[in-house]
Symmetry: C2
Subunit: 447 residues, 2 copies
């Protein structure tokens, strides 16, 4: 979460008006809400769980300060006894969740939360906000990593992410999903992600001649220089970079690489590679960037383009082809009564649930079964208890661990489901007990 500012008012107003109505009715029973994605956005066949750590930190620190309560009082809507009740309100509930870095599918609860209904309701907005963004981005980033076919990919998205919080979460979610670094310095610091940077066109343009800019840069970074060669003419830029690399060699230094940020990338890379190779600069890498996404990366990989690594920005950072997902946080149980909603196209499944994952002999995901939490079905249980009594249960895994778990997990996803276009539709099954419960509740609700 964002350091510094109390985000407990980052909620929808109706959460607070409902809270007052619950309070007035003294309807303070335990409620379980289930967070899940209803449908796949275009070309998506799986989701990568991300955002849980922020949710747990938010829940642990949840409280209203006096300034916030004074603001609510100024709305002339809330009763004094309710406002007074808010002063000591903390989150006291329990959370089950699919850990970050794991793969999940539509309808599967990625998080279930049980708490007095008033608490469970007020925290809804922030929970959806964070899991939605981070899962969306981790999924998009995973697709880019897939498409890059083994070439390292770094996050260049910060300037066009939707605000500062997104900039931070995009760096983290993309690293979690296999990116190797970020350009976002603040994210590097907060999350321990390796920093990556080259130079901008403005740096080149501020010098009279491109080659002067190259010389000035390598003088400052003799061990870490990557030169941007497309400001005026990419091939002339490559020849200037080669010239500087030869000068560096005389001092026993080596140029790390050059970056191409525009034009016909695959063709330019071939020609730049040739210029470098014929000058004896076989170790100088070529980095590609500029409007890349998984589809363009797939094309470059298929063409075996002469890039050694990629910088991926905007289209990953806003999940451009799928900037939102149909994620919902639904009441599934209240005071031991299973409930659902029947709104057209938004029907939900009642009861506290668990997802049971079965793998085949090749360790590929074969079947997920969504059952009731109390059921004993074969398969690994994906949802783990991560918070009890408002306290996170165990030390949270470190980001590199989550990243490793993701890499292992992605290997278990069947190829057809991982396809970048029109993937096979992986749908979890519902257990017979869950189906029977749903039928019963539907009948009761309609009756």
């Amino acid at each position: 979460m964002n350091a510094g500012e109390n985000q407990s008012l980052l909620t929808d107003f109706y959460q607070l008006t409902m809270a007052q109505a619950y309070f007035r009715e003294q309807q303070m029973g335990l409620a379980t809400f289930s967070l899940f994605i209803r449908t796949y956005p275009p070309n998506r066949g799986y989701f990568v769980s991300a955002g849980l750590q922020d949710v747990l930190e938010y829940l642990e620190s949840f409280h209203f300060d006096q300034g916030q309560i004074d603001y609510l009082a100024s709305q002339s809507l809330f009763s004094d006894d309710f406002l007074h009740y808010l002063v000591d309100l903390r989150f006291t509930g329990q959370v089950f969740a699919i850990p970050e870095g794991r793969i999940f599918f539509t309808d599967e609860p990625v998080l279930e939360l049980t708490a007095p209904i008033l608490e469970a309701q007020i925290v809804e907005t922030y929970i959806i906000n964070q899991i939605h963004l981070q899962t969306l981005i981790a999924t998009k980033a995973a697709r880019c990593v897939q498409a890059a076919g083994g070439r390292p990919v770094v996050d260049f998205a910060l300037r066009r992410t939707h605000g500062s919080d997104a900039g931070m979460k995009v760096a983290r979610a993309s690293y979690l999903a296999g990116f190797v670094g970020t350009s976002n310095v603040m994210a590097g610091r907060r999350y321990g992600i390796p920093l990556v940077g080259t130079m901008a066109h403005s740096f080149i343009a501020s010098f009279e001649r491109e080659i002067d800019a190259f010389r000035a840069y390598v003088a400052s970074f003799p061990k870490n220089a990557i030169l941007l060669i497309d400001t005026y003419d990419t091939l002339a830029g490559a020849r200037n970079a080669a010239q500087v690399a030869r000068e560096m060699a005389e001092w026993g230094q080596a140029l790390i690489g050059v970056r191409i940020d525009s034009g016909d990338m695959a063709t330019l890379a071939v020609e730049v590679r040739r210029i470098l190779d014929t000058t004896g600069l076989k170790d100088v890498k070529i980095i590609g960037s500029g409007g890349l996404d998984e589809f363009e990366l797939e094309r470059l990989t298929a063409a075996d383009a002469a890039f050694d690594s990629y910088g991926v920005g905007t289209k990953m950072g806003v999940s451009a082809d799928a900037p939102w997902a149909d994620i919902a946080y639904k009441l599934v149980e209240y005071e031991d009564r299973s409930v659902l909603k029947l709104s057209t196209g938004k029907e939900s499944w009642p009861g506290e649930k668990q997802v049971f994952r079965q793998v085949n002999s090749k360790m590929q995901i074969e079947k997920d079964i969504i059952g009731l939490r109390g059921e004993e079905l074969s398969g690994e249980r994906l949802l783990e208890e991560t918070m009890r009594g408002g306290k996170a249960i165990s030390p949270y895994p470190k980001l590199p661990e989550i990243r490793e778990r993701f890499t292992a997990e992605l290997a278990a996803v069947p190829k057809s489901v991982k396809k970048l276009r029109d993937p096979g539709c992986f749908a979890a099954e519902f257990s017979p007990k869950l189906k029977a419960l749903r039928d019963e509740i539907v009948k009761k609700t309609r009756g």
Copy 2:
């Protein structure tokens, strides 16, 4: 900007490596950067300027604290004298900008910044990040207001905006562009935006019967209740709401409205209206929500659907059909030398600029001319000096003022340019002097 945390490291790593190279070369001359959008996203014909206030606040408070500098030192890339230099670094530059709430078009600089190049470079990332997001959202929100044809629209986007900062900025940008309120409580507090809230399906589902939920809610909010009627069956929900409204009338109270959040909205609204009217509840409003955007709103408006107002969420809050714009911050002048880049498809225009707007006798925008800042052309000058010597020049206008300016401004946009689909492409002209300068610089640069 986000309160609480120093965001000066929210920048791309290359800004800092370039800064060290500038510092080492003592290349500390004044640079002017120009921020503009290269092309229209699909179906866009204009942009609404937004985000300037955050940029000015960020620039005024820009500095690195010791912890941040220690982190940079840990990268083993930066020299001690450079790190020492960063301790006292502040933003000392000048900013010209098109004020928030004004309309602008492609190629027009929405902001120009002049400062020692090192400063101008480090602040690039945050400036783009904020203007990009807020302009994108203000533009999307303006389209929704247009499409709603006079019916009030409120922001319900927070749960699916890209993170917390976006949630705040979406509330502000949509209010700026004519929305009448937000569900985001924190944004209501920070920006003074009216709060709007109804109730959620979970509130209904937590009661045994829908009508019990309605009764409980109006008991808490006898003057402000809007009942959500689609949890189980919209028409049955409408009859329950009507029943509760009649009960309220006996106590001298009035139900404000009902909300429909799913299904065939236009048809349901007609039937719900009939149920309410035949029960003498002509004053009870119908609010529509659920997956709305300007295209769906346009359809409802064209059908003269029986909605009195709308809640618009996700698709506005992520600018779903255009989640990013091709915005760029380019060096246009360095030490009195005009510069440009020639990268394929990303060519820029040199020199410090001004936009001159000419209106016709009906006060409609007739022509925008992009000229050099020193030129005397007829028309209103859109860019205003908003910061000098690192200090904002005058008290910043209040949000309601900006909102009024926007409303007046939108009225001046020709109808063809405001069309929601395939709008007329409004392209500013370039002044002869600017064209001549560009030709000269291109020749010199290629030569």
